[in-house]
Symmetry: C2
Subunit: 200 residues, 2 copies
């Protein structure tokens, strides 16, 4: 007959085994976006790297509520995975359009990082990503607006000199869909949850 | 009394004077897009230079007929001012979307040319242009499709290796609207007619 202590040990083993197993199969969670080009097979980490290392892209909104209109914009994600923008609501149409219809997409190319070697910008091995969702004006004096503005001005010091009285405000792209191509294959299967939780 | 010959000469002078005047005030028409950065004040020539010197941008279409979707694409204008693309109608959503709703925009940044000096990509002195219009599939075996394909493959040799059996076809952006920022000023006032006729 087993002693009570032996019985508890046995139960603990049965209890811990699945936990240990779970720990082993859970994808590695990184602390912050990686600095060097990740394995293209690891689509969520690759996407976070591309967005974090990139500094500008094309922000698409709807003109007159129905026609696609892209505009060159700098951005920063501050390591969060969410692109933040510093947009005028009076000088430039993009901020103006977003206040009327928030559906937007940010598109960027790995070509801007200089890591595509000899690949053409349209080659699938020169990665491209499109983050789609709703472009939201962050409330002034909110913690997130302060965080985003600090990240934007650190990455793009010239934005800090833009005239605040011309309606420059911080916007956030709240992502609902991700389109990523980074190899000779169809667009990667990648959820927003995987993208946001691949690194901490 | 004037002789008949003198009378004809006088009439010819009156007839030619306005023509000579018109010739003098007509903006200079260039033979082909300029190779070096034009004066930002000359918006039509600047726009033609930017489009001709650029090699890739973000092509925006409507996903599900209502949501903006940008996609990194190489292009060539072959000196014509019209951007041509080599898009798959089966592998990639952009060609697929354009066949359903042709409204599109091509956005590019002078930043990709390396002529912005120290200016941020979002600075107005680092030029950006958005050509909006309808993205049209060119008829196969047409003269224009052959011209466009030759220009695309010359500028982007890797495109020539893309699998034709996967539905790669030549598309043309038929421009109806031009958005150009190239100095500390509101977007330039620039018509498609001025853009197309500033150079020959």
């Amino acid at each position: 007959m087993k002693t009570i202590k032996e019985s508890i040990n046995l139960h603990m083993t049965f209890l811990l085994a699945p936990l240990i197993f779970l720990f082993l199969i859970t994808p590695q969670v990184l602390a912050g976006p990686p600095a060097s080009r990740p394995d293209p097979e690891d689509a969520p980490v690759f996407a976070r790297w591309l967005v974090n290392q990139g500094s500008w892209g094309v922000l698409g909104t709807l003109a007159q509520g129905r026609v696609p209109f892209g505009n060159v914009m700098s951005y920063s994600d501050g390591g969060s995975g969410f692109p933040y923008f510093y947009l005028s609501t009076t000088l430039d149409p993009t901020g103006f359009y977003a206040l009327r219809n928030p559906w937007s997409s940010l598109t960027l190319s790995e070509y801007t990082l200089g890591t595509c070697n000899q690949a053409d910008p349209q080659s699938p091995v020169c990665a491209k990503i499109t983050l789609s969702g709703r472009l939201r004006l962050l409330p002034q004096n909110s913690k997130e607006a302060a965080f985003a503005e600090a990240a934007l001005f650190a990455d793009h010091p010239q934005l800090a000199g833009f005239p605040k009285q011309r309606g420059f405000r911080v916007f956030k792209l709240v992502i609902t869909n991700i389109f990523l191509v980074n190899k000779y294959a169809p667009p990667r299967n990648l959820t927003v949850y995987q993208y946001l939780h691949s690194i901490i």
